[in-house]
Every structure is written in C-alpha cells, then in structure tokens.
C-alpha cells in the first residue's frame, strides 16, 4: 500500500458498495430472499442454508446402483485405475467410493432394507474433531469436506467416521476432472456435489440419477428453508439418522429404515 493512500480506503469502498447493494435488494421488496441463481457463487457460503438429504429406503430398488454410477461419473471416481497385479477384490476394497449400497437385516423380523450410505454431513462431525491439520472441515452451509491442500493423509478421519464414508487415494491418479481434483495421499468423501452447489445448482448427481430411473428415493435441498421440498418431506414423514445415539445431527436422514 502506498503511503499517500488513506488506510481505510478499502473499508470505505466496501461499506459504500454494501450499502448500495442492500438498497437495490430491499427497494423492490421481492429480492429480500435471494433467488437461486445459476451463476458461480460470488459471496461466501453462510449458515442460513444447511444442505441435507432425505432418503426413502422403501423406494430404493434392490439391485439398482444408479446413484453410485452417477456419483462415479460426476466426481471422476470412474477414472481411477486399478494398480497392476492387484486382485479385483482388493481393488474393490481400496478404490475410492463416495456412495455404498448397503443392505441391513432386522434379525428379529428378517426384514431386509437397502439404501445408499454416503457421508452423512454431521453437524458435529467426528472426522473434523480428530483431524490434526484442520483439513477435514465443515463448511458454513453444512457440507463436510476435505481440503486436500492441507490433508497429510493420516487417515484418522477414516477411523473416526462411524459411517465408513471416507476413502483414501492410494495411487497416483493420471486423469482428473477439473471439478474434482484428486491425488495420491489424500482422504476424500461425498461433498454433496459441491461444485454444482457453488455454481448455482441445487441438485446432486445421485438425486438426479435416482429420479431419472423413476425411483425418486433421494430428496436433496436446504433443510433450513421450511418451504424446500426436503424440509416439507421431513416435516411430513418419520425419519431417522443412522446411529442417532451418537448425537451427530446428520444432514442425511432415512425414511422407513
């Protein structure tokens, strides 16, 4: 900064612009609540929004993996290459997966329920508690993510996660997508397709795929907005968290589990 420049110039400019913007927004009265625009996000995310999901297990079809495949395509997980000489079963255990199709059986009644399990985007995420570098973090809008720039690959978060949601990248990744950077030595997990959300999108790849296949078992949206479809569904139907006794207040809820 030059000596001749007043020290609070930047602050003054900011306040001036902020006041102008507020006036524009308030005057017509309609834009008090900002509409979902399809442009890249210019302002930081806030806690006024909390992204969440309701999964109706009764609609989740047995044998269907549409959500998993869509996630793989969207986030470049299909671009991972099996290392030479590794067995298929070992690779299946090791490769990064953001969604797992899981079947649970009630031993008393024998009822089997199938459902996709991904990062549950907890309000109090254990993965964030244990991270020694601060790489595992919860964004203001409720998305739990890994900052790969500061992840050292210790995998404490994988141990801490009760949902087995995180994966470690063991090998060099040759081909990556611009929207989904990925490299050897970092942990990763579902991020609610954050590149879509930040670019004005309001859906995730898994939700779109499930709806396209006619199941519509996945409902995604802002659970802080009482008028969003997901909030309305949560108010109407019974839902539960997986492992509610941990009191993590997950962002992903299940109906008919």
């Amino acid at each position: 900064m030059k000596i001749t420049e007043p020290t609070d110039q930047g602050r003054r400019e900011f306040i001036g612009k902020a006041a102008g913007a507020a006036a524009v927004a308030v005057a017509p009265g309609v834009f008090l609540h900002s509409v979902a625009e399809s442009a890249p996000r210019a302002d930081p995310v806030t806690s006024k929004v909390r992204w969440g999901m309701l999964i109706d297990t009764s609609k989740c079809a047995d044998g269907c993996t549409a959500c998993v495949q869509a996630c793989d395509l969207e986030n470049g997980l299909d671009l991972q290459q099996k290392p030479e000489g590794e067995t298929e079963s070992a690779w299946d255990q090791q490769r990064s997966k953001w969604i797992r199709k899981v079947k649970v059986r009630d031993n008393l009644t024998g009822r089997v329920t199938g459902m996709p399990v991904m990062c549950q985007h907890c309000e109090y995420p254990p993965c964030v508690d244990v991270c020694p570098t601060g790489a595992s973090f919860r964004r203001a809008d409720g998305v739990v993510m890994v900052d790969r720039h500061i992840c050292i690959g210790c995998r404490y978060c994988m141990m801490a996660c009760p949902y087995k949601a995180r994966s470690f990248i063991h090998e060099v990744v040759e081909v990556k997508l611009t929207s989904a950077p990925r490299g050897k030595g970092c942990v990763e997990s579902c991020n609610f397709c954050v590149h879509r959300l930040d670019n004005g999108g309001t859906t995730t790849a898994c939700q779109d795929a499930c709806a396209k296949d006619g199941h519509a078992a996945i409902l995604f949206g802002d659970i802080r907005d009482p008028n969003s479809p997901v909030s309305k569904a949560l108010a109407q139907y019974s839902s539960t968290q997986i492992r509610p006794e941990l009191k993590l207040n997950t962002g992903v809820r299940y109906h008919d589990l």
Binding site: A39, P40, R41, A42, D43, P44, V45, G76, F137, R139, A140, D141, M145, D147, R148, H149, V172, V173, V175, K176, L177, T178, S179, A180, P181, R182, G183, K184, C186, V194, H195, L197, D198, N199
Partner: protein, 129 residues
Amino acid sequence: MSASATRRLLATLVGVALAASAGVAAADKNWKQNGNSKATGLEQCVRPTGEIRRYHMDLLKHQRDITVHQGVRKTTDALAGCIDCHANKDAQGKPVPVDAAGQFCLSCHAFAAVHLDCFQCHSTVPAGK
C-alpha cells in the same frame, strides 16, 4: 586450451542446445507466438503481466482457500481459469497438458527450478466442468 577459451566453447555449445530445443517446443519462452491457446490472442492476463509473473502463486493460494472453504467460484484467479486459457491444442485439436515439456507452466518452472505441485491433484487440461 586456456580456461577462458574452454568457458567460451561451453557457452556456445549450451547456446546451440538451447536454440535447438526452443525450435522443437510448441510454446516455450515465445509461447505467445508459437502457441495456439486462447491466451495467445489476448492483450494481457487477469492482471498486468509483471504482477502475474511475480505473484501468481500468491493469488492462486489465496483463491484456493476462499474457494474450498467459502465456496466462492466467481473469480478471475482460479487455477481452472489459467488452464482453460493457457492450454494449447495439438494437431488433432486435443488440449496439451500445461505441465508438459515446453508448455506454458513448465517452460518457466523448469527454468526457475521450482517444483509444480498443483497437478498432482488438478487436471492439466480443461476437463469437464
């Protein structure tokens, strides 16, 4: 041969080698003349050239934190923007990785002997969204 003569001969040889390698590469020091990326047709980068040369690493590091932690994507300082603009296309129209020998990023980084860590995770060509 005297020491100074040896030195002069060595300098000439290195000069010839450098000139030869410059002719092969698609975009080295003269990336603007030799390349065909979007950037070749532009007057200047998102900041004045001198500023970009000196501070691009700081801009990128600042932006990565804002993007990852705050979700801000409307910016001129994103790495994806650099790659989108500076990736050349080969004869088949396929984009050439910006960190390939002689390409935009590596031509300077190799000369300055500064390791490029961005592309361990980030794509080196415009790929998808």
